[in-house]
Symmetry: C2
Subunit: 429 residues, 2 copies
């Protein structure tokens, strides 16, 4: 098949007719498939069922330091959990606070605290006329939802395969002291699966922000979420790099076990400099008596150590990898050479990012939905849900069983073709 743009009007009309017939046939199958969110599949969840057995009524729920995990206390988390998550996040356990079940909640709290109490002695953001965040795009909709909820103005920064456009980031943060943060998913980014290059990380650590309370929100959600055993992306550890660059307080790093053990029943953490952590602990001691230590202990007893976690992640990869490969194969087979879309080929994380012809994404997603396949809403990967090109679509291959995923991706490819053909026909009118 030749590129659609090289087709004549008649060729496109014939093509549209054929694609419409195929679409009607798919519609008649009454599909109900969901590729909208980065959720682990049932098979993946089953990998962690052993976690339900590691603590029984015969077990001692006491920490190494003698803390009874069943009672109150231990505000910043038990030592064993700090060690495990320290290894996972590649930071010193002393630079960690363990939270509850959701790293998103930790990020929310971080923004909320900055609004009401400011960052390390600086003016609370709620007292300022304007607060802005930089948002590498496409990015993660729930990040953007937090900043939008707090009335923080979001500025798009284009992503590339090596990370955000650092020329732009450097220029903006140096010149505008109302810019207080930037949302980053530095490894296997959401949705493109790109990992920041060494140069990008180094430039982040060397930023010279005009605002003393500017922080990098480093959401390392997919730090150990590789698809392959050897062909893995590697990221320079940002806390250490910031320290080396003389900017130790520049970054908040977030992570959780949500896509390692059970989403919603995992443990989350923040890692930062001691200055930042002390600032956070002044809030934390008013906010709670402590997070769920029994669940922290459960995770430690189940994974034992970082090697156990890495072995566990290999099992996740074995389930996920064929799904990523299936999507990429179908997209290549159905769309290769047509020049109506491009997609990423990540080595980890939870998403594949698809870019259609300009102005087609909303129609493609709507068309999928009409035939029973729910995709992430078009525009969701941009602040305010506004994709200026209406072209980016996030594909989340993990949740459906492989058979369903194949069907859903075939339908998706069909919708891309049909919408693109119509789009091109319209430009000829």
């Amino acid at each position: 098949m030749k590129p659609y743009a090289e087709m004549t009007r008649d060729e496109l009309l014939a093509l549209r007719k054929e694609l419409k017939a195929q679409y009607r046939e798919m519609q008649s199958k009454d599909l109900r498939l969901d590729m909208s969110r980065g959720k682990p599949s049932v098979e993946q969840l089953d990998l962690s069922m052993g976690m339900m057995d590691v603590l029984s009524s015969d077990d001692d729920l006491t920490c190494e330091d003698g803390t009874d995990c069943r009672n109150y206390g231990c505000l910043t988390g038990i030592d064993e959990a700090k060690e495990l998550l320290g290894d996972m996040m590649e930071v010193n356990p002393n630079n960690i606070i363990i939270y509850g079940n959701s790293s998103l909640n930790v990020m929310y709290d971080t923004v909320s605290r900055s609004m009401t109490h400011g960052v390390m002695g600086n003016t609370p953001w709620c007292k300022l006329d304007k607060v802005k965040f930089l948002c590498p795009v496409p990015g993660y909709d729930r990040h953007f939802a937090i900043t939008e909820y707090f009335g923080i103005e979001m500025i798009n920064v284009p992503m590339s395969e090596s990370g955000p456009d650092m020329d732009l980031v450097e220029e903006l943060v140096a010149s505008d002291d109302t810019i207080k943060g930037i949302w980053c998913v530095p490894k296997y980014s959401n949705p493109q699966g790109y990992s920041y290059s060494d140069e990008t990380v180094r430039r982040f650590a060397r930023l010279k922000p005009a605002a003393p309370d500017f922080r990098i929100y480093w959401d390392n959600a997919y730090g150990v979420h590789h698809l392959y055993d050897h062909d893995q992306d590697h990221l320079i550890e940002i806390l250490a790099e910031c320290k080396r660059a003389g900017n130790p307080d520049l970054v908040y790093k977030f992570a959780s076990t949500s896509k390692i053990s059970f989403p919603g029943s995992g443990i989350a953490a923040i890692a930062a400099s001691r200055n930042n952590l002390e600032d956070i602990e002044r809030q934390l001691k008013n906010q709670t008596i402590g997070h769920d230590k029994v669940n922290q202990l459960r995770h430690v007893r189940f994974f034992k150590d970082i090697h156990g976690m890495v072995e566990h992640m290999r099992k996740h990869a074995d389930i996920i990898r064929p799904k990523f490969e299936a999507v990429e194969e179908i997209l290549e087979r159905e769309l290769g050479g047509l020049e109506i879309g491009s997609w990423t080929k990540p080595k980890g994380g939870y998403f594949i990012s698809f870019d259609s012809l300009e102005g087609c994404a909303k129609d493609i997603v709507a068309r999928c939905k009409k035939a029973g396949v729910v995709m992430t809403g078009a525009g969701a990967t941009y602040p305010y849900g506004k994709d200026p090109h209406d072209s980016n679509i996030r594909i989340a291959p993990t949740y459906p069983p492989l058979g369903d995923l194949i069907t859903a991706t075939e339908l998706f490819a069909l919708c891309v073709k049909l919408t693109s053909a119509e789009k091109l026909l319209k430009t000829m009118e």
Copy 2:
């Protein structure tokens, strides 16, 4: 022994000498006892160890409605948990949101959200010059810590056996629209163990606050925490009473299972009108994808229903009751008739409140500490840690084993006597 105030100077001098000798003897015992916090004892924690067995890798972690508790989702909690906590909180499950492990965190979030986003469309508190809370005193230090952290001015309202001084509450909230809330522990209050009378609850529900965003923060922490099977306090349910009074949106009600299952690994909840809950959910959906559903399911499977929970609480009572009785017995035996202190005799909750002669509380607590017994800091039961009479001391009898508790209470009584004798001697100078 006659009342200290009726003693001559010589009698008091002799008494002081004798008490000092007793105190030195206690000091030589090198005690290390803690009566400072309302923590369950190890024996109580053991009651809930069965909770570690109700979910195993052989069990299905699916809810009645088909939700897989292991995965993301279910923002406001699983239906079964809403039913259980609905019965516990005496409200319709539809009026409940289940949170994470800490009701204190829910209260913190509630204040924090009111600061940044306001209450049901009203001006965010951070945009106001002044925000005030009423604080029935003595009260719970962690409540006061939250309001202090947010710079909210706290106004003392005296407590009586039937609850806060409602004449004062009514007058203040009606006349001052900067008063946005009142902290209440309505049943077996912290620290006195008083329960609000029917009249008090009715007057709360009929408040006519000047501020449309005034809310009653009804922390029903000890709703099912009775010491006796039959001799129990009963509280009129506040949500229903507010609805009957035509003020359905007036109250936020908080509770958790912290002192039912495991403190720090329980589940917490807020109950409120649908209007309030919808206001809260607008925040919640940005804050998290959902709380720990596996732990919610664990609680439901363990307690089964409210009857199971009530039976469980009876076992707690059997452990706690002798401790309360021992403290009361020692105080009566050692201090009865001396007119140097009074104390409450609660039928539930976690505390006994002690009032010394004016100006003695700090010295008594300091003296206890020097002999190895840690009490809650004097003043902690008042906003800003300032007890205007320096007389209130919170006794927390639950955590130490009975033998230790007896020793600690005897030391406490001794310190009360010694400090009181010295105080009276000073007034004679």
